[in-house]
């Protein structure tokens, strides 16, 4: 009994030409920002090594936070404005550690450990709320951030010294109630540079090694894809990445040959390793059942539910992970900055991290590691050069500062708008 076969002309892999057009369209936001940054760098007339140094510092201390946003996006919960709560958890931990005068890497480690239960608690409440507001997760997360901030202020302004006894004149205000506005984390009993000070590696040289490894890896994958059907689908992305890494290799190699202060810049090894581990974690989790469940729920909640996936539980899990990661991310941030702005350090965490991710090309429904890193780099470049560029262009540095805040809000607004518009568009065309 010969089976009749229906033949289907499978989509031939598109030509490179139309592929490139598609890539440019999808990444238009990122490309615009690259142009903006180049313009800003030029206008600010600041020396490149200075910008590079500032930028590298900022990337190492901020990228962990941005990466923590990825899993909720995959799970279909949009941009997790609730990472503010994770940041608060981290801050509570570091206040505790500073109060008990435990410094250095031990203090940092203890703070990281302490962050876990607090962040899990906060994350649980966040997730429960988000499950109750399906379809409006992002605005709920945002308002929850404000609400939690109110509770946080209540805790540290009024409950410390009254209900929570804290006899510590360095931390507590003179009247005995409430924490001081800024807490210094430096010194032998502080956690400043706890992670960073571990070891330093030269930036350019390690970039060359990194780029070489990356290029090699993706070339290997391209060769592998010739034999494996599943990898063949991803061939084009392998090629693009190999090209990007090769470009990075060439650029960094070139820089290493010229005489420039850039070659003196060093990067904290431990921090970079930690960020690298998070990247690996993100990649690994997607290959597991847990990751597949995230993706299933993120693609279509209804179908996932009917197939027996416990949708609400999976969503909670995504937020829990994200919140804990955000807590650690805030710790990494604080140990580099060295000062805790008790009532303000966490406020803009959500906005800036999300703006950075979106600038990298992510959207409400799709976020990758590359986008997180590139976005962080671009966002912070703009941050660095805006005031000076504003001064040179308009004679007013304030304009530059306001401009970068406008950019952060604007990019989120535009991204949300585009996503919503696309959603409606797809719904109309769904047959």
């Amino acid at each position: 009994m010969e089976a009749e076969k229906l033949v289907f002309e499978e989509n031939k892999p598109q030509s490179m030409g139309s592929n490139i057009k598609q890539i440019i369209f999808d990444n238009s936001v990122t490309i615009i920002f690259v142009i903006l940054c180049l313009g800003g760098v030029y206008l600010s007339k600041q020396p490149i090594p200075f910008i590079a140094n500032e930028l590298i510092q900022r990337i190492t201390r901020n990228s962990f936070l941005v990466l923590s946003l990825i899993i909720p996006v995959l799970a279909g919960m949009g941009l997790n404005f609730g990472i503010v709560l994770g940041a608060m958890a981290g801050q509570i931990a570091i206040i505790a550690v500073t109060h008990f005068k435990i410094g250095g890497i031990a203090g940092f480690g203890l703070a990281a450990l302490l962050t876990i239960p607090i962040a899990l608690l906060f994350g649980y409440f966040t997730a429960k709320l988000l499950n109750k507001t399906k379809g409006q997760e992002m605005i709920s997360g945002m308002i929850l951030g404000f609400f939690a901030n109110g509770l946080y202020q209540l805790l540290f302004l009024f409950l410390v010294g009254t209900i929570i006894p804290m006899d510590n004149p360095t931390l507590v205000l003179s009247a005995g109630i409430g924490l001081k506005n800024t807490i210094d984390l430096s010194g032998p009993q502080g956690t400043k540079y706890a992670l960073d000070a571990f070891a330093k590696i030269p930036f350019i040289k390690s970039t060359i090694v990194f780029a070489l490894a990356g290029t090699g890896y993706y070339v290997f994958r391209i060769l592998q894809s010739n034999k494996d059907e599943r990898l063949k689908m991803e061939r084009n992305s392998f090629i693009i990445r190999a090209v990007l890494f090769a470009a990075l290799l060439i650029i960094s190699f070139y820089v290493s040959t010229i005489k420039s202060l850039i070659n003196n810049i060093s990067v904290p090894l431990a921090t970079v390793v930690v960020v690298g581990l998070l990247c690996v974690f993100n990649v690994f989790i997607l290959k597991t059942k847990a990751g597949q469940d995230f993706r299933s729920v993120g693609q279509d909640m209804n179908i996932a539910k009917i197939s027996g996936i416990p949708v609400d539980k999976i969503r909670i899990r995504a937020i829990l992970i994200s919140t804990v990661l955000a807590g650690w991310g805030q710790l990494i941030f604080l140990q580099n900055i060295g000062t805790l702005n008790t009532y303000g350090s966490h406020e803009q965490v959500g906005t800036f991290a999300i703006a950075a991710l979106l600038i990298g090309g992510a959207s409400v429904t799709k976020a990758t590691i590359g986008q997180a890193i590139i976005g962080t780099a671009l966002f912070h470049t703009l941050f660095i050069v805006s005031p000076q560029a504003g001064k040179n262009l308009f004679g007013n540095a304030q304009i530059g500062e306001y401009f970068r805040v406008f950019v952060a809000y604007g990019v989120i607004g535009v991204s949300l708008g585009l996503h919503a518009w696309k959603q409606l568009f797809d719904k109309k065309n769904k047959k």
Binding site: E229, T288, K431
Partner: protein, 533 residues
């Protein structure tokens, strides 16, 4: 009688929803390895029977069912979809449950992925295990190949033609190793002719491999082509169980429609004018679930025209398209004037009124009063009930109240008063409010879609009588669109049957049952065409 040759025996199944009997003692027996067709009009009880078979929550939350279900010789109580799945009962839905962004493998293996352990899994459990895509791809390809497709399982589902998605749905069910009984619900509805053919052949192969198939369809020719035995349901009763080789299309059509034992009041014979009030040419309407694919119809002035047919065949799309509620193409001429489509305001201005089938969704503002609901449309379209003050308008509360009271009396709307929120009314009274709103427009033609859906028996008669009254007293042309054939046959002058988005034919209420049945299943022209040709 527990017989080893049967995979499932449903005996004397009874079910009622809030006192309303939906299944009145139905027997269904499917042999192992056979294809068993389940026929019946809408409301005959097919979906309820399937819900019982799948242990759907809606059955148990409304009082359960009576009767026995024996699966593979064992008496069972299917109390949840999980139980059904574990027994090996699977369903291929009409609505595709596929995730477009996933590959075919990921869809087939959704929540049944094959896992391999890694360093973390001993500590963290199954959730941390790695996905074994190689094995999943292998198994999925086997399942897919059974259906005769030439398709790689690694491809993403989005972008595949609709017909292929149906096959992937089926592959997903076959992939479940313990599958014993598969239910196909109108599987060929969205397929092209050649795809349907391939599907039927694949069904035969599946049955031959030992999996029984329950085949729900309205296409009688397919039933004859592929099934081994047939059960016909009508009004919650099982009216026939036959072997396919013992019957034919015409007999099936007749059994499906049947004649009601009670005497439905016959429509008074009256001379309707020959004048055509509305001419519909090649109307195409994009209404999801009720697509119209080219309807040509002439409506005579002063008649009561019925439009019937099975659910999903497109009859409801017709008025929705004419009224501009869903995108449409084609041409509609009313009283000699061309009515522009996709423009609800224009259709309403031309004195065409419509009572939607979706009472609560489209027909009413549930949290507004009866009087507001009645006057709103004519206020907007005809500027009635408005007092003009130069730069500003204000609603004329007195006029609204007076008119509402008049309507409440005329249509006998049972309520506490014109200010009562329509949410609080019973289905029948809500329907009357919708009719009142349509009448307030003073229309020359009124389309009423599913007028008695979800209304209890007493109210049904009232609503139908009202429509007849309107026609008799005001000479209004009435078009009734309904899935209940008996209803149409009792009030209409002519009845058009819509099948597969087109008018299959126009019958008189007194035409024989077989003709109605054949038209609804789309086989009328095939049979009669053959005879003439």
């Amino acid at each position: 009688m527990q017989n080893q040759e049967y995979i499932i025996q449903m005996k004397d199944i009874r079910k009622e929803y809030f006192g309303n009997p939906v299944l009145k003692g139905v027997n269904l027996n499917v042999k192992k390895g056979e294809i068993h067709a389940l026929l019946g009009e809408n409301g005959a009880g097919k979906s309820t029977l399937m819900n019982i078979l799948f242990g759907m929550p809606v059955i148990h939350s409304t009082g359960g069912y009576q009767g026995e279900v024996t699966f593979d010789g064992q008496l069972t109580n299917i109390d949840s979809p999980n139980t059904a799945m574990n027994l090996g009962i699977g369903m291929v839905h009409q609505e595709f449950m596929l995730i477009p962004g996933f590959s075919i493998t990921e869809n087939i293996k959704l929540n049944r992925e094959i896992l391999k352990p890694n360093i973390f899994s001993p500590m963290l459990g199954d959730q941390a295990k790695t996905l074994d895509f190689k094995k999943m791809d292998q198994e999925s390809q086997v399942s897919l190949d059974t259906l005769g497709l030439n398709l790689k399982v690694q491809s993403k589902v989005e972008g595949l033609p609709v017909g292929f998605m149906q096959f992937i749905e089926i592959a997903r069910e076959i992939d479940k190793k313990n599958m014993r009984l598969m239910v196909f619900d109108e599987p060929t509805a969205v397929l092209t002719e050649s795809e349907a053919d391939t599907l039927l052949k694949a069904m035969r192969r599946i049955a031959d491999s030992g999996i029984s198939i329950l085949f729900i369809t309205h296409r009688l020719d397919e039933v004859m082509q592929v099934s081994d035995s047939i059960t016909v349901l009508r009004d919650g009763e099982q009216v026939a169980s036959l072997n396919t080789k013992d019957t034919n299309v015409i007999e099936l059509a007749e059994i499906m429609v049947g004649r009601k034992i009670e005497n439905m009041a016959q429509r008074e014979e009256h001379e309707s004018s020959k004048e055509v009030i509305m001419k519909i040419d090649n109307l195409v309407v994009d209404m999801p679930g009720e697509e119209v694919k080219g309807v040509n119809l002439e409506i005579k002035k002063g008649e009561i025209l019925g439009i019937g047919g099975l659910a999903g065949q497109g009859k409801i799309g017709i008025p929705n398209g004419i009224m501009g509620i869903y995108p449409s193409k084609g041409s509609v001429t009313f009283n000699g004037q061309n009515i522009p489509l996709n423009n609800p305001a224009q259709s309403l201005k031309s004195k065409i009124a419509f009572v939607s089938e979706d009472r609560r969704g489209v027909g009413l503002l549930l949290d507004c009063s009866i009087e507001e609901n009645i006057v709103l449309t004519s206020m907007q379209i005809q500027n009635k009930f408005i007092k003009n003050y130069g730069i500003m308008t204000q609603i004329d509360k007195k006029a609204i109240r007076a008119h509402a009271l008049e309507m409440i009396t005329n249509l006998d709307i049972r309520c506490t008063g014109p200010e009562q929120l329509t949410r609080r009314l019973s289905g029948g009274n809500q329907q009357k409010v919708c009719i009142a709103r349509a009448l307030t427009l003073d229309p020359e033609i009124i389309f009423v879609s599913e007028p008695t859906r979800g209304i209890d028996i007493g109210a049904k008669k009232l609503v139908l009588d009202t429509l007849v009254e309107l026609n008799k007293r005001l000479g209004m042309t009435v078009v009734v669109i309904s899935s209940e054939l008996a209803e149409l046959r009792s009030v209409c002058d002519r009845i058009a049957i819509v099948t597969e988005g087109k008018i299959e034919g126009i019958l008189s209420p007194s035409d024989n049952d077989a003709d109605f049945g054949l038209m609804m299943s789309g086989d009328y022209h095939k049979i009669h065409g053959k005879e003439v040709g």
